[in-house]
């Protein structure tokens, strides 16, 4: 092929219509590919339809309010962990951080500290624990799965040891608790407002700021990101701190509702929020994820237990159902991506 041949082909194309792009997917398929959260929405709608038949009492105002309460508390942590998963890491210690921060909150309030100050202390403490996770993962280069598995056991063990196994109660009605988790309308609580505020902020950061792009780049192709000047370690550290902050926030909000915290508080939460994020389209391997998807994933996971209870199913079906939904959601997402990438 000579230069002349190449040049003439190009000139021909400049005038006429360009040839169609290589990819033959329809516009709809591409749109679905770009919005993986739709699998979660679809799944949630299907679940609603099923529950409409077998658990009609789920759909009265009080029930929905209670479900949303659970979803809000779980969702705050799930949204908190989404950026971390997008940049390619994971945090298994969120439940332990939630419990430990909630205990700190409880203990400081009981000792007479002003509630607002206790709140700030507890949330900051969660951030510190998150930073600890981040520093261990980044410095030692062990996979975050292992590092946070370790810290999960450390914090939980310290919490149980420090409390001797006994819970802490705060029976007074404290005004500040209303700010965190007070009833707003019927059974809908302030925690829902916290969730929405957080969702809007994180969505904006992920989609509309350079830092958001840096998060996706770090998770999508860390080496390329580094070569393009992104400080991937800094990105990851910030994401770890953020998870700690949201876990602590959820812990204080939950304490405001229960007025109690026991040393096993938050146990098992990590698997639920990770399942919620993954069902919502966040890739376990990093590089993709949306706040909307995580929200719907949380709705799905959060509603299953209540729905099954309303349906009169014994509660040991819960784990089975979440597991089935998780697998179906991931399979659906993968299939969608595959058809587009033909």
């Amino acid at each position: 092929m000579t230069n002349k041949d190449l040049a003439s082909t190009r000139k021909n194309q400049e005038g006429a219509n360009a040839p169609p792009p290589e990819n033959r997917s329809t516009n709809l398929q591409i749109w679905l590919h770009r919005h993986p959260e739709l699998a979660a929405v679809f799944g949630w709608v299907v679940m609603l339809v099923v529950f409409a038949f077998i658990a009609p009492t789920l759909f009265n105002v009080d029930s929905l309010g209670n479900v949303i309460t659970v979803v809000a508390e779980m969702g705050i942590v799930a949204i908190g962990i989404t950026p971390l998963m997008i940049c390619g890491e994971i945090d298994l210690s969120v439940g332990a951080v939630l419990g430990t921060s909630a205990m700190l909150f409880a203990v400081t309030i009981k000792s007479g500290l002003p509630p607002v100050l206790s709140f700030v202390l507890a949330v900051a403490f969660g951030g510190i624990l998150g930073a600890f996770n981040g520093i261990i993962t980044i410095r030692t280069r062990i996979p975050s799965f292992i590092a946070t598995l370790g810290t999960m056991m450390i914090w939980r063990g310290l919490l149980v040891g420090f409390t001797g196994g006994f819970p802490v109660y705060e029976e007074r009605n404290i005004r500040f608790f209303d700010m965190l988790n007070g009833l707003v309308i019927h059974q809908f609580r302030a925690s829902t407002l916290w969730l929405f505020a957080l969702a809007i902020i994180i969505h904006t950061v992920l989609v509309r700021t350079p830092f958001g792009t840096a998060i996706f780049a770090t998770g999508g192709n860390k080496t390329a990101a580094m070569m393009l000047g992104i400080r991937t370690n800094r990105v990851k550290l910030i994401a770890f701190v953020f998870v700690g902050l949201t876990a602590a926030l959820a812990g204080t909000i939950q304490f405001a509702r229960f007025h109690s915290v026991d040393p096993l508080r938050g146990q098992g939460l990590e698997l639920e929020v990770i399942a919620a994020a993954v069902i919502g389209g966040t890739l376990f391997t990093g590089g993709a994820g949306t706040v909307l998807g995580t929200l719907f994933g949380t709705l799905l996971v959060g509603m299953v237990r209540s729905g099954l209870a309303h349906a009169g199913a014994p509660a040991y079906w819960y784990e089975t159902f979440v597991g089935v939904i998780l697998i179906l959601a991931v399979v659906l997402n993968t299939k969608l991506k595959e058809t587009v990438l033909r």
Binding site: E22, T209, N221, G287, L341
Partner: protein, 251 residues
């Protein structure tokens, strides 16, 4: 070629890894509006030469000049700041991000509200569409994820990005290796376009026919040494292939 100093020049550079002499006293020039085809069998030193130029490895001896001025390239960032961009197979773009965000990665246009920076999405999207259109790439929308693009389209986007941000020297490492014939042709067209806009290009490949169609000059490396150099009109592709295959002495 004008009388002034070459755009980039690596002079008498050497590099060894333990007992292996990867580069030995190699001198190579690159200028604007030209494509240098850097060829040689595996282990000839092509990749080491490029990594030294882009700041990945430090040189044992020898210097690098930009228009006669001595350079200190200590990291990939230094190289990029000087306008040297490399296009590796997998390392150019982030697959799950859109074309537009990939394009401006690390160099986003923002408006600031206090300490917070927000992307100027519309402006960036428009610029990206224009930059792609400018060198002849047709894309449905700059919001498409790079993952959907074919290999050739991805290479083209990376080339367009380099041009847009004013790269002076573009290094292509096996750009057509995994592509179909049609795709390869398209990429080569963009390489030509880049050349005509004044970029200097170093094109590393095993596919002599591909590089022959766009090159102005050839440099052949063998066992870390530069064994041959000539202009395109002084040689045929077959001769180059034979040289690489059987060693310089054949010629």
């Amino acid at each position: 070629m004008t009388g002034e100093a070459p755009l980039f020049r690596m002079e008498n550079v050497s590099k060894s890894f333990g007992a292996v002499q990867a580069l030995q006293d190699v001198t190579i020039d690159v200028n604007e509006n030209e494509v240098v085809g850097l060829v040689g069998d595996n282990g000839a030193g092509k990749s080491t030469l490029i990594k030294a130029l882009t700041g990945v490895y430090p040189l044992d001896s020898g210097n690098i000049y930009h228009r006669g001025r001595l350079l200190r390239i200590r990291s990939p960032k230094d190289a990029r700041d000087l306008g040297i961009e490399t296009l590796y197979q997998d390392l150019a773009l982030i697959p799950l991000l859109s074309v537009s965000r990939n394009f401006y990665l690390g160099r986003e246009l923002v408006h600031s509200i206090g300490p917070m920076k927000f992307n100027k999405k519309r402006e960036m999207d428009a610029n990206v569409s224009r930059a792609l259109m400018d060198i002849g790439i047709r894309m449905r929308s700059p919001d498409e994820e790079v993952e959907i693009l074919s290999g050739g389209e991805r290479q083209s986007v990376a080339i367009a990005r380099a041009i847009h941000f004013g790269a002076k020297l573009l290094i292509l490492d096996e750009p057509t290796a995994a592509l179909s014939i049609k795709e390869s042709q398209r990429v080569l067209e963009y390489v030509l376009e880049a050349r005509e806009r004044g970029l200097a290009i170093v094109f590393i490949t095993h596919n002599i026919y591909h590089v022959y169609s766009v090159a102005t000059r050839f440099v052949v490396l063998e066992h870390g040494k530069k064994v041959f150099e000539c202009r395109k009109d002084e040689i045929t592709p077959e001769a180059i292939i034979e040289m690489v295959k059987s060693g310089y002495n054949v010629l």
